[in-house]
Subunit: 124 residues, 2 copies
């Protein structure tokens, strides 16, 4: 069972993968049969191929994630974070997100749900 420290570190690695724009790094943190629901209520992406595709869609944007506050408990993490998304010269937006992850025995992300809607988006 992963420790709270390992889980916290994986959350940080996740945000780092986003800031590097690396779909491979982000998807690599997930278990093979993991699920991603981002935003909650939208499509659920299941398995490595679908999750890699989901993060691949972010290519072309510059992402600046910032962790606000994190809880790591048992095999779960919940965190509030901000994501600044910049698209070339056309400005950008800041999204305030609450994310919840569960983890498997090996410390891989088993599921991720991101709670945000258009109400949480601020133009920059």
């Amino acid at each position: 069972m992963p420790s709270a420290e390992q889980i916290s570190q994986t959350v940080r690695s996740y945000l780092e993968a986003l800031s590097k724009g690396s779909a491979e790094d982000a998807a690599g943190l997930y278990a093979d049969d993991a699920t991603v629901e981002d935003p909650v209520g939208g499509e659920v992406h299941i398995g490595h191929h679908a999750i890699l595709g989901f993060y691949g869609n972010l290519a072309g944007s510059t992402l600046e994630p910032e962790l606000v506050t994190l809880r790591a408990l048992g095999r779960e993490a919940a965190f509030l974070w901000r994501l600044v998304v910049r698209n070339g010269d056309s400005g950008g937006v800041r999204i305030e997100i609450i994310s919840v992850m569960t983890f498997d025995e090996d410390g891989k992300i088993a599921s991720m749900k991101a709670y945000w809607s258009k109400d949480d988006i601020t133009p920059l």
Copy 2:
């Protein structure tokens, strides 16, 4: 299916029930077969009787909840909030909590998970 507005209102009613110190009001927001895991990783309270008992344990403390930020999506809510707990003249603490709720068809709370640990407690 409950609307985002209904779900947001139920979260507010929940915090109001805590501020009134009413275990009945808090437990009354839950479905009969609901589950409460507070904090995550601890005991899971299942069903009305157990949930009423859980909130009954808070009697004797003065609770001052404050909603920081709320997401209501589909049949779920995630919110960051602060809870000041005062025990007579012996001071008190502030706990910063991320809570996640799911809701049933009728808008009752089907499950609640509260993410916090001793690291999120500040003495006042």
